[in-house]
Symmetry: C2
Subunit: 160 residues, 2 copies
DNA sequence: GATAGTTGTAATATATCATATTACAACTAA
DNA sequence: TTAGTTGTAATATGATATATTACAACTATC
């Protein structure tokens, strides 16, 4: 099992909006092309990000705007916004009908639940510790490295 | 999405084996009754626990035995044994075709992967910190509380 | 050694869920 | 007015979790 890709899609969307906002307002079709999924998926995720108060959009008008500073948006916010894990159910699916007539069956839930929640929370805390400012920063860094490598390559070629 | 119930079923199985081992060897049918699932599911999970070196079984002969001490079996061992999360894929499903022609698309994976792994690992470390000795101990504790409550109830009744 | 009970596993069915896709109304910008 | 865009419902498709049936291999016991 895996946490659905809407989470990484959400991160991709916000990163792209942040990276391209000075050049262009990116629409759902462009984003879909960058992400490699259907535009309706992008619009769905953007809707969820809007409901979570992370972006703002206008029907008919192209592109979305961020409503928070990048360093105020954490990975956890996006994970939560797109409903990566059902709040009621939790990360771990417990078998649903342990037998109340068995001493183990009627107690296993009680005994395990807290520890499973702790594990889930540890994961979520980690997600809280990264902001989209970190992600965008690292993306820019990666782009810089790309162009440095390209320059180095060109220089190497010209030396031959 | 959720981590499948085979994980909690695995914990239930080992707890039951530990709790009942002095009284009875529990077979897959009994366990299925306690857990509330089909006996074949139980046998499948036991097979995976056996492959992980946690239990020992014998074809035709009833019941499974633990091959490790309870304090040497962690929740993580069971989580791993039943393949709760695919080792290749990881906990987070990344969208599969980010566009290499887009500056964000070709870098998002690199930028996110480490942080997602860190989050997954934080969850897994928490699972490592609980042993089956803890679980069995807590289960016995819960059973004690049950009988204390029962006694209290009986005493209350006799006073009326 | 014959019988009843058990495990191991393959094969299949079913239900649920993630993702893709089509379609279209509501809206904006030019 | 026209072309482009968003928001969302409806539906399709494929993957996966769990249930179930079936049976061969094996053990324990009478």
């Amino acid at each position: 099992m895996q946490i659905g890709s809407k989470f990484t899609i959400g991160v991709h969307i916000i990163t792209a909006i942040a990276c391209f906002r000075d050049m262009d307002r990116v629409n759902s079709e462009f984003l879909a092309g960058s992400i490699g999924v259907n535009p309706v998926i992008v619009r769905t995720v953007i809707s969820q990000l809007r409901e979570a108060g992370i972006v703002q959009t206008q029907r008919g008008s192209s592109g979305a705007e961020l409503t928070k500073r990048l360093d105020e948006i954490t990975l956890y916010d996006i994970y939560k916004a797109v409903g990566s894990v059902d709040a009621e159910e939790g990360l771990f699916h417990f078998h649903e009908q342990p037998n109340p007539d068995c001493p183990v069956g009627r107690n296993i839930h009680k005994v395990l639940d807290q520890r499973l929640m702790d594990a889930q929370r540890a994961m979520e805390e980690k997600l809280r510790s990264t902001t989209l400012a970190d992600i965008v920063e690292d993306t820019r860094q990666a782009l810089d490295n790309e162009s440095n490598e390209e320059t180095a390559l060109l220089q190497a070629e010209s030396r031959m």
